[in-house]
């Protein structure tokens, strides 16, 4: 697993970074009462890159995700996505601009079919209004037909076959993870946030998933921000790794640099581990 994807990756970075930064977070701060969950974090994601966010439990990774997607309001700082200020915008507005996400603990719509889950993801791209839907105007019908078609393609793309009409809650765990990604892709994101996508997967499923991520970046113009605990995944797919600890960025760099960074080792293994 380590050899082949790594070579592919190294060919690309220069070209990619020249596209400029898709997301710029400036000194983002998030406090919960007295607790500082994110401490003046400055962070960028270049276009079409895969950036990983790692750190010990409670380091503020998911909190940062939630501020990026508008689920939490930041205490201070600014987030600019694709040229527009998205600080403290409501989640749906940020999604509409092109940020898709998955959740750490799967949050599908359990009583909806796989297909419907994906269709919900397309919500902001569709236009069908109330009156048009009730009357069934040709425009709305056509839009709906196209949407269903696209949703099916997305399900195939995510590797889900013949489960279109299954309720999401009835899917196998790995398929639920895939469906969440398909649903996020349905929002047509420029930036895809994956929160521990391989949590609970067995090694085989993890490998399949990583291949899927590689395929994703080859076939779609999407940048990926990944929270992940599985270091094999992180080191295998990332262009850049950022390490958080107690809400602060303690290191940033290529996977190789991060592996050698003393502060990172300290954060994970405790003081004195490097001596």
């Amino acid at each position: 697993m380590s050899g082949q994807p790594q070579e592919q990756r190294q060919a690309a970075p220069q070209q990619r970074s020249s596209d400029g930064d898709l997301l710029v977070a400036q000194e983002v701060r998030k406090e919960f009462g007295g607790l500082i969950a994110i401490n003046d974090l400055t962070f960028t994601i270049p276009s079409r890159s895969i950036v990983s966010l790692i750190g010990p439990n409670g380091a503020g990774k998911t909190t940062f995700f939630n501020t990026l997607t508008g689920l939490y309001k930041v205490t201070d700082g600014q987030i600019v996505f694709d040229g527009s200020d998205v600080t403290n915008k409501p989640p749906h507005a940020i999604t509409k601009l092109g940020v898709g996400r998955t959740f750490q603990n799967i949050r599908l719509f359990p009583q909806m079919t796989a297909l419907e889950n994906v269709l919900v993801g397309m919500h902001s791209r569709l236009k069908g209004g109330i009156v048009g839907s009730i009357i069934g105007t040709p425009r709305v019908r056509r839009e709906e037909r196209d949407a269903v078609q696209q949703a099916r393609e997305l399900l195939r793309f995510a590797g889900l076959r013949n489960v279109d009409n299954e309720l999401a809650e009835a899917l196998a765990y790995g398929d639920q993870r895939r469906l969440e990604v398909a649903r996020a892709l349905a929002t047509d994101p420029k930036l895809l946030l994956l929160d521990e996508p391989t949590a609970g997967m067995n090694p085989q499923e993890t490998v399949t998933f990583m291949e899927f991520v590689s395929k994703l970046r080859e076939e779609r113009p999407v940048a990926i921000l990944l929270i992940e605990h599985d270091m094999k995944v992180v080191m295998g797919v990332s262009d850049r790794v950022t390490v958080l600890d107690y809400g602060e960025k303690i290191a940033e760099g290529s996977p190789l640099e991060i592996q050698k960074d003393e502060r990172v080792i300290e954060a994970y293994l405790g003081q004195g581990a490097t001596q």
């Binding site: 997607t69 999604t95 839907s133 269903v148 013949n162 299954e166 085989q204």
Partner: protein, 442 residues
């Protein structure tokens, strides 16, 4: 219907149910399945519709008095009320069943609709004289008299607006908090109409006396002579029948609208919010706007029902609009199965029948046939106890409702992902899975 749902629920990829379906007793069922899908899909509904629409015609030939248990079939007049309440239940189902917003104040929409009819089609405002297409009213009568057909639409729109206004501050709340605030609004509106007989000297609602008489629907004299349509319902010999058919029309319109909306982009968004609000927001659904729409649509049908029943009763009275109605409608939604239109229709018909005359009739039958003389019980007095028992029993034995929502398998033509193909697809899938796990390890 139930079989399909079971397939989705109990079996992965419809495999097991497919086998069990072949196994027995389905001779009739198999014949049924060979019919083209539109026939299968629509003929039960059409049969039901015909049965309902012709009810006033064959009611007189049905046995009356001493029918086992139900004693007698509901009168056409009761049937109108039943249909209107069912319409409201279907409207409330949009709010509670689809969008998952617990609304304990739906009666407010009923009241707004009824009073809108009162304002726009009665002699309430004696200071003015405005007639527009009204029927059965002398042209010299004071007050605003607008055609009831138009009033129904206006009342529905105004109530929808009321729903939006109530929704904007309340829909930011979730769950129980929303329920409490809507409960408040459900109390405020009737209190307001009860006391709004002197707003700085202006009589808006005529206080506890209510607004009466309210004009009746109808088509006017020219359409009567040319097409034979009734001029004004109230002046017709068979007024109740006319009201019945109109109420049935409104109910059908409501059902069609709700089905279309459910299967639309907006309906998906409602259900997504019900399933997981946070995830729905993260998928690009504007939560406030979508929930407000649910409220507005629910209010729309509440308003049209309120206006219609005000016209039917020829009056709107504050005593009609109490908290019981909100709970009663909510019971219909829960009993029928939240989100299931047909379930709500069935439960709505049953519960409102019990309320209008069913319980009294059952009581009469019990007293006549079961209870000995001297030990007779007035069943209708125990109505809320009886409803309570029904709800408790439902929650214990069938919490999903009479006809649970069939959330699955929207049959879209190019799909072919079910039906007799299921088992072969299942095999394809297993092959696929084998392929998936055959990837070399890292």
């Amino acid at each position: 219907m139930p079989r399909r749902r079971d397939r989705a629920r109990s079996s992965l990829r419809g495999y097991r149910a497919d086998a069990s379906r072949r196994s027995g007793l389905h001779v009739v069922g198999d014949g049924w399945r060979t019919l083209p899908r539109p026939v299968r899909q629509f003929s039960p509904a059409i049969a039901l519709l015909v049965l309902a629409a012709t009810y006033p015609l064959y009611l007189s030939s049905l046995p009356s008095g001493n029918v086992p248990i139900i004693h007698s079939f509901p009168s056409v007049r009761s049937a109108v009320t039943i249909l209107v309440f069912t319409t409201m239940a279907v409207g409330l189902n949009v709010v509670v069943g689809y969008c998952g917003l617990l609304d304990l104040g739906y009666v407010a929409f009923y009241a707004i609709g009824a009073y809108t009819a009162g304002w726009l089609a009665s002699g309430q405002f004696q200071q003015v004289r405005f007639h527009f297409g009204s029927v059965g009213v002398t042209h010299t009568a004071n007050g605003i008299h607008i055609s009831i057909w138009l009033v129904l639409v206006l009342a529905a729109l105004l109530t929808a607006l009321g729903g939006i206004l109530i929704g904007l501050p309340t829909l930011r709340l979730r769950g129980d908090y929303l329920a409490i605030v809507t409960l408040g609004f459900g109390e405020i509106i009737p209190q307001f109409v009860r006391n709004a007989d002197s707003l700085h000297g202006f009589d808006l609602t005529n206080g506890t006396f209510g607004i009466s008489p309210i004009d009746s629907p109808g088509f006017g004299n020219s359409l009567k002579t040319s097409l034979g349509l009734p001029s004004a319902y109230s002046q017709d010999f068979d007024a109740d029948r006319l009201f019945f058919w109109t109420a049935l029309g409104i109910l059908i319109l409501t059902i069609v609208c709700c089905i279309r909306l459910r299967d639309s982009r907006l309906g998906r968004a409602w259900i997504a919010i019900r399933e997981d609000e946070t995830a729905a927001g993260a998928m690009g659904i504007p939560l406030m706007r979508t929930k407000t729409w649910a409220y507005a649509i629910g209010a729309f049908f509440g308003g049209i029902s309120g206006a219609y029943i005000a016209s039917f009763n020829a009056g709107a009275f504050p005593s009609q609009f109490n908290f019981n109605i909100s709970v009663f409608l909510l019971c219909m939604v829960i009993l029928g199965g939240m989100g299931s239109i047909w379930g709500v229709v069935v439960a709505g018909v049953i519960l409102s029948w019990l309320n209008v005359e069913g319980l009294a009739n059952i009581g009469t039958w019990l007293n006549d046939n079961i209870f000995p003389a001297g030990h007779q019980i007035e069943v209708a007095k125990y109505q809320f106890g009886i409803y309570g028992v029904i709800i408790v029993l439902m929650m214990m034995f069938r919490p999903q409702g009479l006809i649970p929502e069939a959330r699955r398998k929207r049959e879209i033509e190019e799909s072919g992902g079910h039906g007799p193909l299921d088992s072969s697809l299942y095999e394809m899938r297993s092959a696929d899975e084998r392929g998936g796990t055959g990837v070399p390890h890292g």
